[in-house]
C-alpha cells in the first residue's frame, strides 16, 4: 500500500494526470448514474423503439442549449394533450344523444423561428359513428383562421402542412407558405417573421353517441430538443450518449485487463520454462502480429455475431500474444536471474508458485501505465467497429451514434451536433485515460522521469 501512496503523491506533480483522474472519476459516476436511472432493459426498448415511442419528438434537431449561442432563438416543441388535462375541455349534451366536445389549446410562442411541423393526433372513443371535428386557429393579434372540418377515426392524424385544402386557404388568406409558417407569421412580413404571443387552437367535435368522446394531442414540433437533440428516427440522443459511457468503460477496461494480464502471465511462463515453451510463445507472437486484427474482427462480426461480448472475446484472444510479450520477456529474463528467485527454488517452491508469486508481481509497475493507455485504444476500437456497421445490434453506443450520423449525411446536412456529441465524449474518455497513462509511465519508468 505504501507504494500506491507514493505513486499517487508522484502523480500529483503532473497536472495532466490530475485532470485525467477527474475525467475518469466523472465517467465512472456518470456511468453509474446512467445504469441506475435508465436500466438496461429500458434503454434497449427505448433505443429500439419506433414511432410509437418517439412520435412526440421532432426529427434531426439540435439540443436546446444551442439557443444560448444564438441570437435568433429556435422554438422548442409544444406538446399539449387533452387527455392529460393540458387543454381546456368542455362537454355538453345535445339533443338525440349527440354531444358537443370543445377542446381549447392555449400556448405562448416566443421563438424567433417557426416550428418544424404542426400535427394533431386524435383519440376518439366511439362505437359506430365517428365524431366530426372542426378546427380553428387564433393568433395573438386576434385573427381567426379555419383549419379544417372532417370526421376522425381511431388513430386519425392531421398534419397541417400536408392538408391541401388548408394549404389553399392559407395561400389565399396569408400567403404561399407552409402551414407552420403561415399560421405563426406576422401578416405581410417578408421574409416571414414569427409573431410572438399567445395562440390558441380550438377543436370542437360533435359526437353521435351517448358514450362517445374525443381527445386530441396537439404537437408543434420545435427545432431544438432536450439536452442532446434527436436523430433521424426521432430518438432522443441522450439515451445513446448516456449508455455509451458504461459500455465504453466496460469494453475498454475488460479488453485492456484481459489482454495485459494474459500476456503478462504467458510471458512469465515462457521465460520460466524457457526452451521449447519460450520458442513456441515467441513464434505464436510473431504470427499473431501479422494477423490483421480489424479485418478478422470484421469477419467475425459479419459471419457469426455482432454482440459486443463476442467482439470483446475475440479482441482479447487476438491480443493475448501481442507485441508487448517481447517487452515483458526482456524484463522477466533479467528478473529470473535474481537471487530471491533462487532462494524460492531452494525452499522448494513449485513452478507455478514462482511464476505467479515471484515473477509476475515484479512487472506490475510496467504493466499499469500500459494498461491505462490501452483502455482508450479499445474504447476507440469498439467505436471503429460500430462505425463500420458492426456495432452491437441492440446496445446503444457512441460509435453507433457516429455511424448513424455519417450514414445519414449529418456532415453534409449541417447536423454537426449529431457527430460532435458522441465524438466529443469519445475524445473526453480517450484523453482522460491517455493523460493518466502517460503520467503513470513517467512515474513508473525511472528512465523517463524528469524527461
Amino acid at each position: 500500500m505504501g507504494s500506491l501512496q507514493n505513486t499517487l503523491r508522484e502523480l500529483r506533480r503532473y497536472p495532466s494526470a490530475i485532470a485525467g483522474i477527474f475525467v475518469i472519476l466523472a465517467l465512472v459516476v456518470f456511468s453509474a448514474y446512467t445504469v441506475i436511472t435508465i436500466p438496461y432493459e429500458e434503454a434497449i426498448t427505448l433505443w429500439r423503439g419506433g414511432a410509437d415511442i418517439w412520435y412526440k419528438l421532432p426529427r434531426n434537431v439540435p439540443p436546446t442549449w444551442v439557443n444560448t449561442f444564438r441570437a435568433k432563438k429556435l422554438p422548442e416543441s409544444i406538446i399539449l394533450d387533452s387527455a392529460q388535462g393540458q387543454a381546456e375541455k368542455t362537454k355538453e349534451a345535445m339533443s338525440g344523444g349527440q354531444n358537443m366536445v370543445n377542446l381549447t389549446y392555449t400556448f405562448d410562442f416566443n421563438a424567433d423561428d417557426f416550428p418544424r411541423a404542426l400535427v394533431i393526433y386524435f383519440r376518439p372513443t366511439f362505437d359506430e359513428k365517428s365524431p366530426f371535428v372542426s378546427i380553428t386557429w387564433s393568433t395573438p393579434d386576434g385573427r381567426e383562421i379555419r383549419i379544417g372540418d372532417f370526421a376522425v377515426e381511431e388513430g386519425s392524424v392531421f398534419r397541417f402542412e400536408q392538408d391541401e385544402r388548408l394549404q389553399r386557404r392559407l395561400k389565399r388568406e396569408v400567403g404561399d407558405y407552409p402551414a407552420q409558417v403561415a399560421l405563426f407569421m406576422q401578416p405581410e412580413s417578408d421574409p416571414p417573421t414569427p409573431l410572438k404571443g399567445t395562440y390558441s387552437l380550438n377543436i370542437s367535435a360533435v359526437t353521435f353517441e351517448e358514450e362517445a368522446d374525443v381527445d386530441a394531442e396537439f404537437i408543434a414540433y420545435g427545432k431544438v430538443y432536450g439536452i442532446a437533440g434527436t436523430d433521424h428516427a426521432r430518438r432522443d440522443l441522450k439515451i445513446a450518449l448516456m449508455w455509451g459511457a458504461p459500455v465504453a468503460l466496460a469494453f475498454g477496461l475488460l479488453a485492456a485487463l484481459g489482454t495485459t494480464i494474459t500476456t503478462m502471465i504467458i510471458a512469465a511462463f515462457g521465460v520460466w520454462f524457457s526452451g521449447w515453451v519460450d520458442d513456441l510463445i515467441q513464434r505464436v507472437t510473431e504470427v499473431n502480429l501479422m494477423l490483421p486484427l480489424l479485418p478478422i474482427l470484421i469477419m467475425v462480426g459479419t459471419f457469426y455475431s455482432r454482440s459486443i461480448w463476442i467482439m470483446l472475446g475475440v479482441t482479447i484472444a487476438l491480443g493475448i500474444f501481442g507485441g508487448s510479450i517481447k517487452t515483458y520477456r526482456a524484463i522477466f529474463l533479467q528478473t529470473r536471474e535474481s537471487p530471491y528467485i533462487e532462494a524460492a527454488q531452494a525452499y522448494g517452491a513449485g513452478d507455478v508458485r514462482i511464476v505467479m508469486r515471484y515473477l509476475v508481481p515484479r512487472i506490475i509497475p510496467v504493466i499499469i501505465p500500459q494498461l491505462v493507455t490501452l483502455i482508450p485504444t479499445y474504447v476507440f476500437l469498439e467505436a471503429s467497429l460500430a462505425v463500420l456497421g458492426l456495432g452491437d445490434p441492440i446496445l446503444p453506443t457512441w460509435g453507433k451514434v457516429i455511424q448513424d450520423s455519417l450514414a445519414n449525411g449529418a456532415l453534409f446536412k449541417g447536423l454537426y451536433y449529431w457527430v460532435l456529441e458522441p465524438a466529443g465524449l469519445l475524445m473526453f474518455t480517450g484523453l482522460g485515460f491517455a493523460m493518466v497513462g502517460f503520467a503513470l509511465d513517467r512515474v513508473f519508468n525511472p528512465r523517463l522521469r524528469g524527461l
Partner: protein, 378 residues
C-alpha cells in the same frame, strides 16, 4: 504505448561471426526473414480460412448459389418442361450433388481447408457474389488489386511524411529540451489515443463542411480532369485532409516517444565526449545519436505502419477513398464473403510485405547483422 516500450527493447548481444562478406550476410538474413515471414503468412491465412469457414458458413453460401443456379437452369430448360414435379426435383437434387462434388464440397473440411489455403496463397480468391471491379470483372483478385495502388498512394505518402516530419521535430525538440514547444508536444501526446478516422471527421467538418476549402472525400474531382497535371493536382487536393488526419493522429505520440528516446541516448558517455571534442551539433546528432538508434527507430516505424494498415477500412470509408479498406467495408455491407476473405488475405500479405521491406532496411543499417551475428534468431 506498446510501441514506445518496444523501442527500449534490449537486444541480446550476439557473437560476431568471422569471414563472409557483408552482402552475403545481409542476403542470408533477408532470406531467413523472408522464409519466416512466409510461414507466418501461411499460418495467418490458414487461420483466416478457418475463421471464415467455421460452421461451414462459406460452404453454405456456395451451396445456396449452386442450388439456385441448378434450379433456374432446370426450370428454364424447355426439354425438361414436361417432366412431373417429382422427377424434376429429383433431377435438381442429382445435379446439385454432382456440382458439389465437382467443386469438392463433399470432401471433409480438413482437405478442403488446405485447398482453400492454396487458393488463397496463390491469390485465387474466387468470384465475388455481388461486387464487380471497375472493369466489370467478378474476379475478387481483380477487384482487390485494382484498389491496391490508391491505398498505397494514400498510406505511403502519409507514412513517409509522418516518419520524416516526426523524426526531424523529435531531433529539434531533444535539442531544446524543456522549451515551450517541447512542453506543448509532451502535453499533446495523449491526443494520439484517438485513431485517424476520428480526426478525419473533425477535419471534414471544419475544412469541408464549414469552410468549403477542401472536398469532403473521394480521390479526384468528378469528372476527372483529362490533363495529367491537373489530374495530379486534383488528387493532391483530395489527399490533404486524409493525410492531415493520419498525421494529426500519430505525430504527437511519435514525436514524444522519439524525443524521449533521443534524450536518453544523448546522455550516453560517447555523445558527451563528442560534444566535449567540440563537434558541431549537426554532426553529433547524425553520427552519435541518430546512427546508433536507427534500428530501433525502424522497428517502431514498422509497428506504426502495421497499426495504420489495420485502420484502413474505416479511414477510407470516412474519406470515401476508393482503396482496399473501403472495398472491404462495401463487402461487409453487401455480405460478399469472397471479397471479405480475399481482403483479409491481402491485408495479411501487405503486413508481411511491410515487415519484410523494413527487415531488409533493418539489415542494412544494423551493424549486428551487417558485420556479424546471425539474423535468424527471430
Amino acid at each position: 504505448m506498446a510501441e514506445s516500450s518496444l523501442t527500449f527493447d534490449s537486444v541480446p548481444a550476439e557473437k560476431p561471426a568471422k569471414g563472409s562478406s557483408t552482402l552475403a550476410r545481409v542476403g542470408k538474413y533477408t532470406l531467413v526473414r523472408g522464409v519466416a515471414l512466409f510461414i507466418t503468412v501461411v499460418i495467418g491465412v490458414y487461420l483466416t480460412v478457418l475463421i471464415a469457414n467455421m460452421g461451414g458458413y462459406v460452404d453454405d453460401i456456395r451451396r445456396g448459389e449452386i442450388q439456385e443456379q441448378v434450379s433456374i437452369r432446370i426450370m428454364n430448360d424447355p426439354a425438361l418442361k414436361n417432366l412431373p414435379v417429382e422427377e424434376r426435383r429429383k433431377r435438381i437434387a442429382e445435379e446439385v450433388a454432382l456440382e458439389e462434388k465437382r467443386l469438392g464440397l463433399d470432401q471433409p473440411f480438413l482437405i478442403r481447408s488446405f485447398r482453400f489455403l492454396r487458393n488463397a496463397l496463390t491469390l485465387h480468391l474466387g468470384r465475388a457474389q455481388l461486387m464487380t471491379s471497375d472493369s466489370g470483372s467478378r474476379q475478387v483478385r481483380l477487384i482487390i488489386l485494382e484498389r491496391l495502388p490508391t491505398t498505397l498512394l494514400l498510406f505511403g505518402t502519409s507514412n513517409l511524411l509522418l516518419f520524416f516530419i516526426s523524426l526531424s521535430i523529435a531531433l529539434g525538440l531533444s535539442r531544446k529540451y524543456g522549451s515551450l514547444m517541447d512542453r506543448v508536444f509532451v502535453a499533446l501526446s495523449p491526443s494520439s489515443a484517438a485513431p485517424g478516422w476520428f480526426y478525419g471527421i473533425f477535419l471534414i467538418l471544419v475544412f469541408a463542411a464549414l469552410l468549403h476549402w477542401l472536398p469532403f472525400g473521394g480521390m479526384v474531382d468528378a469528372p476527372p480532369p483529362k490533363d495529367p497535371l491537373r489530374y495530379a493536382l486534383s488528387v493532391a487536393k483530395h489527399m490533404v485532409l486524409p493525410v492531415g488526419a493520419l498525421l494529426l493522429s500519430s505525430i504527437f505520440v511519435s514525436v514524444y516517444s522519439w524525443r524521449t528516446f533521443f534524450l536518453i541516448y544523448s546522455s550516453e558517455d560517447y555523445v558527451e565526449m563528442a560534444r566535449a571534442k567540440g563537434l558541431p551539433d549537426r554532426m553529433v546528432e547524425r553520427r552519435y545519436i541518430l546512427r546508433p538508434t536507427l534500428p530501433t527507430i525502424i522497428t517502431s516505424f514498422a509497428l506504426t505502419l502495421i497499426s495504420l494498415w489495420t485502420g484502413a477500412p474505416i479511414f477510407e470509408t470516412i474519406f470515401n477513398w476508393p482503396g482496399l479498406g473501403r472495398t472491404l467495408f462495401q463487402a461487409i455491407g453487401l455480405f460478399d464473403t469472397a471479397v471479405i476473405v480475399g481482403s483479409t488475405v491481402i491485408f495479411a500479405y501487405l503486413l508481411a510485405a511491410t515487415v519484410f521491406l523494413l527487415d531488409i532496411i533493418y539489415a542494412l543499417v544494423d551493424p549486428r547483422v551487417r558485420i556479424g551475428g546471425s539474423g535468424g534468431s527471430s
